[in-house]
Amino acid sequence: MKHTLSVLVENKPGVLTRVAGLFARRGFNIDSLVVAETESAAVSRMTITVEEQDQPVEQVTKQLHKLINVLKITDLDPSGSVERELLLIKVKADAESRSAIMQIVEIFRAKIVDVSAEVLIVEMTGTREKVSAFMELLTPFGVVELMRTGRIAMSRGKRAT
């Protein structure tokens, strides 16, 4: 089962190494990792997705809590949170295929952000599943390259994540 951990940390040098190293040491493989400043410049948020393996994820969250620079950890419940990923995809588009691609883009409420003679760059956001479905539909046209940011997630309702 996949877990999405939202981890608030002090925005200091070396904190990412401490967090990432701890996952490796305790035998957890990080699927995706997003790090950026929060509303406070002194605090960063790491959104980490991990696959639960032999040991429960609780083992690693308890160890994470022991890191002095870690402030708060939330193991987000998928149904109680909104999650998004950002995708940039560069897809081959000639005169023939262009309109078909644009139709798919419209259906998915994605956005064309760069156009050239042979390719389009499309930006889209959505859940991991939606992003994957979108990618699948564009694949037959010929994908030059694609980039996904990894998941960010926020808990629903009044309470902060």
């Binding site: 040098p13 070396g14 308890k62 022991k66 002095i68 402030l71």
Partner: protein, 563 residues
């Protein structure tokens, strides 16, 4: 004031009176400040020694141990000692020099990424880039090292930082900024009540106590609880001394080389009350077979230890010093008579009678290593501070040197560091100048840090090293004998120094004992001396440590004695 002097002032404010260290290029300003300081500095012969001395000092005194090393190799030489302190949760602050800020990351002379290298083996670490943060960082380092679950903290300071001028006002205590660090000390009252209920109801309870009881200074509290509720106590290697081992309720150590009765009691118990322990594999053996009939109460200050190896029924996260009295108070409210447990305590007594730790004396007058430990115990009346090396010597010491007090048995439990005992003993002697400090050593381990004899002699620290010399790396040899078809691969030390001459070369006293009849006399002479001494005790070479439950085994696999 120069930042180097500020560092020393900040250390003094934390109550530091002794530093173990070794100078080098990146710490010259620090040592220059030390030149006029009233802080006592012990010059070691290898930085690993400094780290283990700080460790032994901390375990013997309960204070934070402090060591200094220079950048690069000085700091990397500390790594084993830091890892050792981390595994056994020992409060320690290691201050390492670093190359100047503008040289960091350029593969400069004597540069090593010390915060990086030590990342997995520290409780926390700092690389100080701004001299104005020094006083805050040092305060935080001591706070982190000594509170919650104790551990080592590394403070890496570039040499140019120590040369800067900074303002220092000894009256102003810098505010700590540790928003993410809040150890839970109290223990949840509901959990404590629940624990009292199951303890009152248990028929065959056992207390399994560890190093956490000692670091919490909660030995008295543990004893009151055990005695009031008449629960037998077994302690781990690092917990030795947390409960008086000559007490009727003591069952000695448990686990791989534990006493048969402690292991029988655990395996028949219906309730294990675990205090300040982490269910290490050397204690549990095969996890599924560990205390198979028991429920578990686990008291620990570190929430990450709860249900890590064994899923527990009633976890209590808190400081043993606070939780144990609260638990006792709850038990007293229940006002039950514990007499009905007499059957259980009698059963434990029977096991003790029928399965004592047996030592078969050698017929030809050879010295049995177990008897040598017993003799040391007898002569010191169990009141010495005992340090050990790692291997057979360590297990024989744990089995046969019964401790009465906390902080009098100092051994590398988690990391199992050969060469730990002797420098740790020097550190313990600094902490307890009037105590008799004995390192129960093996010939292999002692050779890993024996150069610290010079340190012991230089500072007049009369540590007694009792080498149980079998000219083997005995514990590995024992495994080879029992599990590896007697392939004694590289475990025979064919060439050894003359330990008597070695001691004398450093200016210490050296003794050799070959016959059991001479042992007592030599030990008494050596222990009475006010100088450091090495006693080379030639023991029966093939003696093994029993009982033994092989790694990953169960109580049914226990080999009780020599075949």
């Amino acid at each position: 004031m120069k930042a180097a002097e500020v560092i020393l002032e900040a250390l003094k404010r934390e109550g530091v009176d002794t530093i173990f260290g070794f100078p080098g290029g990146s710490v010259i300003p620090l040592y220059d400040a030390l030149y006029n300081s009233d802080i006592n500095h012990i010059l070691v012969r290898h930085e690993q020694g400094a780290g283990h001395m700080a460790d032994g000092y901390a375990r013997a005194s309960g204070k934070v141990g402090v060591c200094f090393a220079t950048s690069g190799p000085g700091a990397t030489n500390l790594v084993t000692a830091i890892a050792n302190a981390y595994m056994d949760s020992v409060p320690m602050v290691a201050i390492t020099g670093q190359v100047s800020r503008h040289l960091i990351g350029l593969d400069s002379f004597q540069e090593a990424d010390v915060t990086g290298i030590t990342l997995p083996i520290v409780k926390h670490s700092y690389l100080v880039k701004d001299p104005t943060t020094l006083t805050r960082i040092i305060r935080e380092a001591f706070h982190i090292a000594s509170t919650g679950r104790p551990g080592p903290v590394v403070v890496d300071i570039p040499v140019d930082v120590t040369k800067e001028d900074v303002e220092f006002d000894s009256a102003v205590l810098p505010a700590m900024r540790l928003p993410g660090y809040k150890p839970n000390l109290k223990g949840h009252p509901k959990q404590i009540r629940a624990a009292a209920q199951v303890i009152a109801a248990a028929q065959r309870p056992v207390i399994y106590a560890g190093g956490g009881v000692i670091s919490a200074n909660a030995s008295d509290e543990l004893r009151e609880l055990a005695v009031y509720s008449q629960i037998p106590v077994t302690a781990t290697l690092t917990g030795k001394g947390c409960f008086p081992e000559d007490h009727d309720l003591s069952m000695g150590m448990l686990g791989m080389h534990g006493t048969p009765y402690a292991n029988y009691a655990i395996s028949r118990s219906d309730l294990v009350i675990a205090v300040g322990v982490r269910f290490d594999d050397r204690v549990t053996g095969k996890l599924e077979a560990f205390a198979p009939e028991a429920g578990f109460v686990h008291i620990d200050i570190d929430p990450a230890e709860i249900s890590k190896n064994v899923v527990v029924d009633i976890p209590i996260v808190g400081d043993a010093k606070t939780v144990l009295p609260a638990l006792l108070a709850e038990l007293k409210k229940l006002d039950l008579s514990f007499d009905r447990r007499r059957e259980w305590t009698e059963q434990v007594e029977t096991w003790k009678r029928e399965h004592p730790l047996a030592v078969k004396e050698a017929e030809n007058g050879d010295i049995m290593p177990q008897s040598a430990v017993k003799k040391i115990w007898e002569i010191t009346d169990g009141e010495a501070v005992v340090c050990t090396e790692v291997g057979q010597n360590q297990m024989w010491a744990a089995q046969h040197y019964l401790c009465r007090h906390p902080r009098t048995f100092i051994s590398s439990g988690g990391l199992g560091t050969m060469g730990f005992g002797f420098p740790a003993a020097i550190g313990a002697q600094v902490a307890r100048p009037d105590a008799l400090v004995v390192d129960i050593a093996g010939d292999g381990s002692f050779q890993m840090t024996s150069q610290e004899l010079a340190t012991a002699v230089q500072y007049g620290l009369p540590v007694k090293v009792c080498i149980l010399n079998n000219q083997y790396l005995g514990m590995v040899r024992q495994w080879q004998e029992l599990f590896w078809d007697k392939h004694y691969s590289q475990t025979c030390m064919e060439c050894q120094p003359d330990f008597v001459k070695l001691a004398e070369a450093y200016g210490a006293e050296g003794y050799r004992v070959e016959a059991s009849t001479d042992l007592e006399g030599v030990l008494r002479t050596a222990f009475a001396s006010d100088r450091p001494a090495v006693i080379d005790i030639r023991v029966k070479r093939e003696a093994n440590v029993f009982p033994m439950i092989p790694a990953g085994g169960t109580i049914h696999d226990m080999m009780e004695r020599e075949l």
